[in-house]
Amino acid sequence: MNWGAWMTKPDDNNEMLDALFAAARTDDRATARPDLLAKVLADAEALQPSFEPLAAREQTSDRVRGGIIAQIIGALGGWPSLTGLAAATVAGVWVGFSVAPDMLPTGLAEIIGSDTEVYLALLEGDYGYGLEE
């Protein structure tokens, strides 16, 4: 750099400033030191999002699927509650069929209350079931 140039041309202020700017561009003190680079890289690595490998992700989703069923059972109170719920459902169906036959519709009473073998056979035009022997 020719520092004498702007000394000998005192009126040429642009040249003086350009020389100073050029000196600033090459100033070692404006260079990042290795320890700063190491700190920044450590931050970058610490804050970098990480993702599981694809195989691991598939296993995880399998576990999640199994987990949903387990969660539903858990919400109902676990397996003991679930068996109790099933027993109550069956009992309700039985009670429904065990009421006095005269309280049932005629056709249905014949089905469950007589020795006659009847069965639902035809779907009639009015969408009612016809009984056949």
Partner: protein
């Protein structure tokens, strides 16, 4: 990603890779961006320790925003220059704590010591004059004349028009000339001693 491909990959692409967990992208971005961020902070503040803090903080913000980075909206360097400027302004408002003469001397060989001292004296004189400028003038002059950015990019960084950038740099240069013209002999005498 192979390291030898680093020069061909854009900052934006590296950000995507970084957000996807690519360790090499983290390294390349660090090596590519830290010198620019630190250099700008150092010239804005004139203090190495504070500039290092600012650079680390600015890049920390970049790492945190990486998963949500919107491609194509702004250049990463433009965003970083803005963050650095804001951090520097905050520090300058709190008061400059370190004088220029407290800057650590670089470790250099004796052979180039005289030349180094000359350059340091000139750079220090410039930095002192830069520090006396209003923040926006200083930022514009540094970006244009030391970091050699084009006016449109400076306009984007500073979120002003190109004409406003030209005005800021012109006023900044006038103020620098006024501040430094009285020190020509002082700085020139050192050159004579070389």
């Amino acid at each position: 990603m192979p390291l030898d491909a680093q020069d061909e990959v854009s900052d934006d692409a590296l950000m995507i890779l970084y957000a996807n967990g690519d360790a090499t992208a983290a390294r390349i971005l660090t090596l590519r961006l830290t010198p620019r961020v630190f250099g700008h902070a150092f010239r804005m503040l004139g203090d190495r320790a504070e500039a290092e803090d600012v650079a680390q903080e600015a890049l920390m913000r970049l790492w945190k925003i990486a998963p949500d980075w919107r491609q194509g909206e702004a250049k990463i360097t433009t965003w970083l220059y803005r963050v650095v400027a804001n951090l520097c302004t905050d520090r300058l408002r709190k008061g400059r704590s370190v004088a220029l003469d407290a800057i650590a001397e670089p470790e250099d060989s004796a052979a180039s010591a005289v030349q180094q001292l000359q350059n340091q004296a000139r750079v220090d004189a410039l930095q002192e004059a830069l520090n006396a400028l209003p923040d926006r003038q200083r930022q514009a002059v540094i970006l244009r004349h030391i970091e050699s950015l084009a006016n449109p990019e400076i306009a984007e960084i500073m979120e002003i028009g190109v004409e406003a950038v030209e005005s800021l740099t012109a006023r900044g240069k006038r103020a620098l000339t006024k501040a430094l013209s009285g020190r020509r002999d002082e700085l020139g005498c050192m050159d004579d001693q070389a």
